[in-house]
Subunit: 636 residues, 2 copies
């Protein structure tokens, strides 16, 4: 039972929780990033983003005039003042994408909250981008500035198809928000070049970092042009075929697990485990699911299902984070979910939300919404500080600041959010997800409207208009004032965490959704009883043996030393505790062990004294300076 | 109360446990390494050891003749067929040291067990070495073969002083065993060159990898030549002084923690924490303690004591291993003792035994012997397989083979012992320690004979001759038949693990030793009650929260999946268990949890069924193919 999500133009968010988060993005993140793209943040590493587009614009103009243009090397991941000519491209190879992600976030934000000054700035940026496009439609500033003759010769390492994907996604968002077609037209011209370059009987390559797959489907949906869908399918189908394209383009015969990193180790229909770079993975899997909207490809669907199940059952942090290892920013092996070494990149959780939405729209099952909820309310939101000015790239489940400072194995584990990143993929990704949260809330087909996430909003669908009041994050209460346009079913996701709930109308349960027949204008209220509870992780996960976590509603909680003193490992949670809500904190009963100074002694129970353990929503941690944090506590 | 250890010539080992281990070294390790040094092991990476000495001998002869000799670069850590000329030096920069360590082990072995064929082979090797020495006494094949003009210009990275140290130690051992002075004379000539090169008003350098300090003191003790002691003291005193020698020789101004790795971050008397490369650390600290035998240097002694206490109380694995992190093969921060990421190099445990012996000889306290015992019976012996043919370089306390194969963070954690190493420092180091175990057992002064380790043996001391019968490893029973030469005190170390013991004569206790007045020929028997027991690690160590280990006598035990099935983390040890000895195994009561297939669930106690947990001495693990292992078990 396929459904389509409701487009943002038809959703007006009005939610006590989400309005606040979206406003933080609109007021802080988007303006801050605008300055960052222009390299006007004092003390921050330069992004070179706009500067590259300006340089590329000059090259494009010179080429149009027939002038000779210099050539610089295209051989590095990062181009700095130290390793390249000042007139050459600067920054990371994927630097353009930050501008596109910013524009995508701006588009979503403008849809929900018009802002003429922001729109003016964005249009100016769009002008700079469009000026950089070559006459054949090519648009990637690294190659435009440095060496036009080398385009599409290193798909494995450099990010032309990745930047194209973000361009397309940004362009669609911007067009929907403003009606300004310039960026969309630029994206389509680049897409046309890609479609005429890649495919059967043409170049048999695909991007080292996936996203073009999703983006081309989006352009197909926007335009109805089949070639975009076909090229997306080509990229999906070709990945991992032998001879490996990456071998061909590099003139090597790879050995071992060379292309697991890019999910290109075997054809996608033969994949059943999430491997390699986690962000790349979920972007690919999202693209595969996108293709499935337009084809009945049982093999491809089985691959998507198997990979999903692998993630959900064996590679998912309780916080919805994925990618357990810093090495290759990758999925680790099954059940390897270390807390203090986690990578759990913000972008990977965002990509998991993309994958989840697509899977739910292919065949509704609450598992997808449940996992998306874990990711959104915990790892995604954890990515941003409470003032919207600093960010986590990595979202560990246990942090000891001393280890972060002294242990090279934990160098990626930051104990406080960072101002900005040279490789700033996460903050703009976060901005675009939060600004488009409505897209993840609803989907429909001719007979059913699904509510996957509970977000207070005014929504127009083909079946009905809704006025949704939601206090879901705080109390689990939601109500739907429904102006039905025809009889349909309203399907509400029963949250995984909810043992007890009530819905005001009769319903039937299927695959984790409560289906309510709506025949007329009416009001449906649902209350998902939101209790603090202790969650155990499977004993297949070695890191969590003897420990447990606390959740309440969609939120995972954690202990911080700011509230509980140092040495959080000496806390023991009473598994029979009652929980008391104290503002945003949960208070639990437990014990604190007396520190043991002797390194090794004959066994005896540690001395311990009863104590209150103060728990903080995970996404709120690290907002009070550097301190210890742990999601899992020893339990007794 | 300083004491001197009893030299090996005066000790004849006769011990049910140690004879077996020594025989394994004599019959397997020494002959195997002889072949390895000659690159005659099929399938093993080449050592180039003897080949380098042969090449260097040709260079030395050519130089003597006044011939011109080619020059090759001296700029790499490892010289391979791929990166250097076939006539140049090959292998690691410290490759010579393996030959010296082998000769040292051979010397110790010959003292205890004459073997004319082995002696003949060793003498042949000595001849090859001596032929390589330059006329000025210099002897390091890397520089002799590649570039004589560069000697002593990169003390930080290359290992001339380190190789010299092993030469000296090997030479003394070989001379004591055979009376053949050739290698000793070569070592003394090299030492003389070093003494005339380094010191006040001369080159103010010191070795990047310590050992020359210990070795020069040994040469002083052998010859009485003060200059060796003075140069040893110079190396100790100069280390970490500013400007840093390593900065001077490299023309850099280092930043941050550059020289923690070499313990050269500050003058040694200002050091109070064990930091940097663990083997280098304990070699330096041993050298510092050696200097203290000949000076009343309160500051230096305080540094040694502080560093010792730091190791013993905050940086020591229960197995006696040190060096918790693979990065820099280094000590980590206080209480950072991860089990599954441990480095715990065999050589570092050996170096800790060196340091312990020296500290005990400066001022007897059972803490030193206790720690040495932990290291010897667990990490050192773990380094070698039961057939003497394969070796651990790294000695983790928890191994999941899947993680070793799939997790790059655990690539150093081998799940089975390896045949040999390109960087083969550990096997010959192990051979020399095991072959000289007697040196660690006894020390004396004019009034007291100390027994630090219990090793069955015939021993001649100045105070008495002893016939020691020991079943210490198995039952904790030891007896001493004493032929007293004069009245003296016999001081027996009371093992840390022993709660109950009996000694046949009256005794007084001091600093962990039982002092027994001996006035005549007599027999003293001691029985240290050897019980299996559960040991807890301090709750300051995060890795061991909720877990405990099992020991019996000097041995730490571990669980292997060969005996207990996979997923050792699902075992729970009953803290009230009785233990049953079953051959070399200990059987304990516990439970096995039922595997939980759901990744996250509402908390409840895991289902579990009573089971027997079979425990194996740690040093015996990994002898039955690849399997899981853990020292720490969850405890209830």
């Amino acid at each position: 039972m396929r459904t389509n999500h409701i487009s943002l133009e038809k959703i007006k968010i009005s939610d006590p929780f989400w309005n606040g988060v979206q406003e933080l993005v609109r007021r802080e993140v988007i303006p801050y990033q605008y300055e960052a793209l222009h390299d006007r943040i004092e003390g921050a590493e330069k992004s070179y983003c706009i500067e590259n587009f300006v340089k590329a614009g000059r090259v494009a103009a010179a080429l149009k005039r027939g002038d000779t243009v210099p050539v610089y090397p295209v051989d590095k991941w990062q181009y700095t003042d130290d390793n390249c000519d000042k007139n050459a491209f600067h920054g990371w190879v994927f630097q353009d994408s930050d501008v596109y992600k910013w524009l995508e976030a701006v588009g979503y934000s403008l849809i929900n909250h018009p802002d003429s000054e922001l729109e003016r700035k964005a249009k100016e940026v769009v002008g700079i981008i469009c000026a950089a496009q070559l006459e054949n439609g090519y648009l990637d500033t690294l190659y435009i500035i440095n060496d036009r003759s080398k385009v599409f010769t290193n798909l494995r390492d450099f990010h032309e198809l990745y930047c194209f994907g973000h361009l397309a996604e940004g362009a669609v968002s911007f067009y929907h928000a403003t009606g300004d077609r310039r960026l969309l037209d630029a994206a389509l011209r680049f897409a046309d070049l890609i479609c005429s370059t890649f495919g059967e009987g043409k170049k048999r390559g695909y991007g080292g970092h996936e996203i073009a797959e999703m983006a081309l489907v989006k352009l197909y949906e926007e335009t109805g042009e089949k070639r975009y869908l076909e090229t997306a399918a080509f990229f999906v189908n070709e990945r991992g075929q032998k001879p490996y394209w990456f071998d061909t383009e590099h003139g090597v015969v790879s050995k071992g697990e060379a292309y697991h990193y890019n999910q290109a180790h075997r054809p996608v229909r033969q994949q059943d485990e999430a491997v390699g770079h986690a962000v790349r993975g979920v972007y690919l899997y999202s693209g595969m699911a996108d293709i499935l909207r337009y084809s009945d490809d049982a093999e491809l669907y089985t691959a998507c299902k198997n990979i999903w199940e692998n993630i959900e059952n064996k590679k998912l942090y309780i916080t919805g984070g994925i990618g357990a290892t810093v090495d290759g920013e990758a999925f680790s092996f099954n059940y390897d979910l270390p807390n203090d070494l986690a990578y759990s990149e913000t972008c990977a959780a965002i990509g998991l939300v993309f994958f989840a939405r697509r899977m739910a729209e292919l065949s509704p099952d609450s598992r997808y919404g449940n996992v998306a909820e874990r990711a959104i309310y915990n790892t995604v939101l954890s990515g941003m500080s409470e003032d919207g000015k600093s960010f986590f790239y990595v979202n560990p489940l246990e942090v000891n600041p001393e280890a972060s400072h002294k242990d090279s194995r934990k160098r990626h584990i930051k104990s406080v959010r960072q101002k900005w990143f040279a490789c700033a993929c996460c903050p703009p990704n976060l901005a675009r997800l939060i600004s488009s949260i409505g897209e993840y809330a609803y989907s429909e087909n001719e007979s059913t409207v699904f509510v996957h996430q509970y977000v207070g909003s005014e929504v127009q669908t083909d079946n009905a208009d809704f006025s949704v009041k939601s206090d879901y994050a705080a109390s689990g209460r939601v109500s739907f004032d429904i102006s039905a346009k025809r009889p349909f079913a309203l399907a509400l996701r029963i949250p995984e965490w909810c043992g007890e709930y009530s819905i005001s109308q009769p319903f039937t349960l299927k695959d984790g959704y409560a289906y309510i027949e709506i025949t007329d204008c009416t009001t449906v209220t649902a209350e998902f009883k939101t209790e603090a509870k202790i969650i155990r992780c499977s004993n297949r996960v070695r890191a969590n043996i003897g420990k447990a976590a606390v959740t309440k509603g969609p939120f995972v909680y954690c202990a911080e030393s700011a509230d509980n003193g140092e040495n959080l490992q000496m806390l023991v949670l009473d598994s029979d505790t009652e929980f008391v809500q104290d503002g945003e904190f949960l208070i639990a009963d437990g014990w604190r062990e007396t520190p043991q100074n002797r390194l090794y002694s004959d066994y005896c129970e540690a001395d311990r004294t009863p104590c209150k353990i103060k728990l903080h929503p995970y996404y709120r941690w690290g907002n009070r300076g550097e301190n210890e944090m742990t999601v899992y506590l020893r339990t007794d």
